[in-house]
């Protein structure tokens, strides 16, 4: 009877077998996980945030444990767009045969445009996900994602040089997420991904210093789920483009809750780190949970909580 269930969803013309997508930075370029299971069962995956230049990232320690979550300050460690294209994508292609989501970061508008233009030419890229949570080095270091204007500027610059759907990935560290999403939509974004990590900090009582070398970092994991659901709900009301929801998702129930809030697809981040089979388990549980709640076609519940 599970046969009649439809888990397919469509993001800007791209149909995914299911809405489950490992989130950028928690799934590398896929091949670590491909040793564990056939990752082609995934809807897609968002690869490690890539920048124009290679980056080592921040000093160690980069990880702090929290109640129901963790803080990371990896600092966008990646080999740079050229090596991603020449070395990582070929390795990825060996193990993943579906369109992938290219996660691109930058520290200036030009840098975003440069990397996106390059990645746009890669056949396997289905969607370009532009992470605007990075500090804008030309404007006092406030993140692009905290101002509607800056987020829109990045969107326009990227759209001007690309042909593929562009999703802007928003930071939750803002007062009015809807206005930022709307600004991106108006600037031509094809979709919105949210949320990135909340800014957080832990202090080591023994050393009396922040646990993370960089002091603050990005807080994610199940703890942030209610904030993520709320923001997905608000953005769904504000825009007419698809939303990819994420933040604390760790079960098939969470996927459904995100979709009811308004997500067309759902990313899973921190959960992959503590359970490498998290996405596989979620995908396998989905049919049972759909049946439990009387859902036969997943795409029909998108935004269901707004009715």
């Amino acid at each position: 009877m599970v046969n009649n269930l439809n888990t397919k969803v469509t993001l800007s013309g791209l149909t995914l077998d299911n809405p489950v997508i490992p989130a950028s930075g928690t799934f590398g370029f896929g091949y670590e996980f491909a040793e564990l299971y056939d990752i082609n069962i995934l809807g897609s995956f968002s690869f490690k945030g890539t920048t124009r230049e290679p980056r080592f990232g921040n000093d160690l320690p980069r990880i702090a444990e929290c109640t129901s979550g963790l803080i990371n300050s990896v600092g966008l460690q990646n080999p740079g767009i050229d090596k991603v294209i020449s070395e990582e994508l070929p390795k990825m292609r060996q193990v993943f045969h579906k369109p992938v989501i290219a996660n691109i970061s930058g520290f200036s508008v030009d840098e975003y445009a440069y990397s996106c233009e390059k990645i746009d030419k890669e056949d396997q890229v289905g969607i370009i996900e532009v992470n605007v949570s990075c500090p804008n080095v030309h404007h006092g270091g406030m993140s692009f994602g905290t101002s509607p204007e800056a987020a829109a500027e990045v969107t326009r610059a990227v759209k001007a040089v690309t042909t593929k759907p562009v999703y802007i990935k928003l930071s939750p560290n803002v007062a009015d997420i809807a206005s930022i999403a709307k600004a991106c939509e108006d600037a031509g974004a094809d979709g919105i991904s949210l949320i990135n990590t909340l800014m957080g900090m832990r202090i080591n009582l023994k050393t009396q210093k922040p646990v993370i070398a960089n002091k603050m970092g990005g807080f994610s994991g199940s703890a942030i789920f209610p904030v993520a659901v709320r923001m997905v709900y608000q953005v769904y009301e504000a825009v007419n483009i698809p939303v990819i929801g994420m933040g604390g998702v760790s079960s098939a129930e969470d996927v459904i809750e995100m979709m009811l809030a308004g997500a067309t697809a759902v990313q899973v981040g921190a959960a992959n780190l503590i359970d490498p089979f998290a996405c596989k388990n979620i995908i396998e549980d989905l049919p049972t949970v759909m049946q439990k709640y009387g859902i036969t076609d997943l795409k029909e519940i998108i935004g269901g909580a707004h009715k």
Binding site: F27, F56, R62, C66, L70, L273, P276
Partner: protein, 244 residues
């Protein structure tokens, strides 16, 4: 790497703060001494990385020190309790480079991985020399277990309450000859060993980890041979590649 459930067979203190836990389960992913496992504990988000002290086809032995809430919780677990564990993590020690008389140096909770390494070297027909460092006599553990392998065991304690008074480096400097070194312990000890050893060697590092299997870049460090993830490309690094 494998994820599976283990059942606790034994969980007993060896000293006032160091425990031995013996678990039964699928150890097939473990391929070398110096590898580690990553343990999920109820109520904690991140897993806890602990070195493999010893294993056979169906049991795993770990030694852990209670230092925080997670290891405190571990110490309360009872036989028959079950734990979700990722096994076969990290590169482990390479015994091919050891020569005939390598010296194995363990400091504090760096002692555990030396046990399986010593066992493997003995099985390969080599004659490892073992140097174990502790603060004081009451903190010494696994001396007899090493001796039972038929290897030469030296103990150093900071207060001289047993063995040589001083540090493991004092013992190592006094050794007449050794062909290679392997070590695990606190970073200052590793650094001192890197400086005072006269041969090449392998050193095992600790770092705070997000995943423990190479996915998150939470544990990356720079080496002379490029960026390495302590959890996947380590925890064992070669003396020559380390940037202190």
């Amino acid at each position: 790497m494998k994820q599976s459930w283990f059942t606790i067979e034994e969980n007993k203190p060896l000293t006032s703060s160091v425990y031995r836990m013996v678990l039964s389960g699928d150890t097939s992913a473990i391929t070398a001494s110096g590898q580690f496992v990553n343990i999920k504990l109820d109520g904690f988000f991140l897993r806890r990385p602990i070195s493999v002290c010893d294993y056979n086809d169906s049991t795993l032995t770990i030694l852990y020190k209670v230092v925080g809430k997670g290891t405190e919780k571990m110490a309360t677990l009872l036989p028959a309790d079950k734990l979700d564990i990722l096994t076969g993590l990290g590169n482990g020690y390479d015994t091919a480079k050891s020569g005939n008389t390598p010296v194995l140096i363990g400091g504090g909770v760096g002692v555990p991985p030396m046990f399986r390494l010593a066992k493997n070297l003995v099985a390969e027909g080599k004659s490892p020399i073992v140097v174990l460092g502790f603060q004081t006599a009451a903190e010494v553990f696994y001396k007899e277990e090493f001796e039972a392998l038929g290897v030469d065991v030296h103990i150093a304690t900071a207060d001289g309450s047993v063995g040589v008074k001083g540090f493991v480096t004092d013992v190592v400097k006094s050794l007449s000859a050794y062909t290679y070194f392997y070590t695990c312990g606190p970073e200052p000890m590793l650094r001192a060993l890197s400086d005072c050893t006269t041969t090449s060697g392998q050193l095992s590092f600790e770092e705070r980890m997000g995943c423990g299997f190479g996915a998150c870049m939470g544990c990356s460090c720079k080496t002379k041979y490029g960026n390495k993830r302590i959890c996947k490309d380590g925890p064992v690094l070669e003396k020559e590649e380390i940037i202190w």
